[in-house]
Symmetry: C2
Subunit: 214 residues, 2 copies
């Protein structure tokens, strides 16, 4: 498995392939050509082949791709064959929603701890995992082999908490706080800036309306 330097554009498309292949597999489809898949997903067949080839040939000329095999391979590329230990920091609605989401567990992302600064929430459990005070984060991260921290706290505290996490060995942060975290090289941050997404929708909405009313 000699992965070179794959562009993030390609990586961003992998989960979508994974989803479609999973659905095909569930429907009992055994093989599929890039052409068929391209019609289903509304992308070019060329892009599909190009994308898969970044990771070596998964298909066979004259046959196409084996759905089950390809599904599993992409899962492996995405690291879904391994278990990842998660903690959620910020147990408000959003934190609880993410903690409760069963599908993540199905993919190997296991909720190990929840933290909040609000004492009223302490002890309250999300899927059996009790909410702890923020002070516990440091030791918990160190002692429980936590891979990913989910940040669902206001931006005012996010930067500080991120620093604590990094100092205690966190390697990946899924950041829902509306702020850019400044972490050292080698720490992975994936931002989900919901309001950015909503503003983009707003732009496109306005844009289209404007275009079609003149």
């Amino acid at each position: 498995m000699e992965e070179k330097d794959i562009s993030q554009a390609v990586i961003s498309r992998l989960p979508r392939y994974f989803r479609y292949l999973g659905e095909l597999r569930d429907e009992g489809v055994e093989r599929i050509s890039s052409q068929e898949l391209s019609e289903l997903m509304k992308v070019t067949a060329s892009q599909i082949r190009q994308d898969f080839n970044n990771f070596g040939g998964f298909g066979q000329q004259g046959y196409g791709y084996n759905v089950e095999f390809l599904y599993k391979e992409i899962g492996k590329i995405l690291g879904l064959d391994k278990t990842h230990n998660l903690i959620v920091i910020g147990a408000g609605n959003l934190g609880q929603a993410l903690g409760n989401y069963m599908n993540f567990e199905k993919r190997g992302f296991i909720l190990r701890g929840m933290f909040d600064k609000n004492p009223d929430l302490h002890g309250k459990a999300v899927r059996g995992i009790p909410v702890q005070p923020m002070e516990n984060i440091e030791s918990f991260v160190r002692e429980n082999n936590i891979d990913i921290a989910v940040l669902t706290i206001p931006k005012t505290s996010a930067v500080d908490v991120a620093e604590v996490l990094v100092n205690n060995g966190i390697k990946a942060i899924w950041n829902f706080a509306h702020v850019d975290l400044n972490v050292p090289e080698g720490i992975q941050v994936e931002n989900v800036h919901l309001s950015d997404s909503l503003m983009k929708l707003s732009y496109n909405l306005e844009r289209y309306n404007k275009e079609n009313t003149k």
Copy 2:
């Protein structure tokens, strides 16, 4: 305001500019050069100037950009000077989290209705907005000038609900369901596929670990 065809790559960056400019304004900064902003935001100055110029010149040679003015202009481009009426469909944790998020209201996105198929939730209020049964969606959308529907329901029902929405005049859908909606031309869809985002983080985490353990 002669907007041509701006690429989505540019649009995606606008909310981040907006955020930084808002913070600068709050700090009392009056002017800023593309060079200074580029250092702050860690992008190239050239990109900043190029981006802004898509919408006409906001700056002045020898001076730079007026923070307040630029902030407001970008807000207008993003449609934040107008009010948008929202409904949230799916009043689980995620739907409630989004419905409760005050910052959206600050930007003109006003929650007008919430819907869920679970009768236990009916009548329960999120910021004064009661949860209604799904059957009410059609008339509510038609009678309340709803611009944006937020879909926080399972993928199994999302496609059908989207169709109902479109049939009743919705122009924009903020889609959190893990499925691709197939809507007619002119209906804006902004997808937030959380599990895709988590998988991308997982890939980058694995990738980096692999690279640094051999």
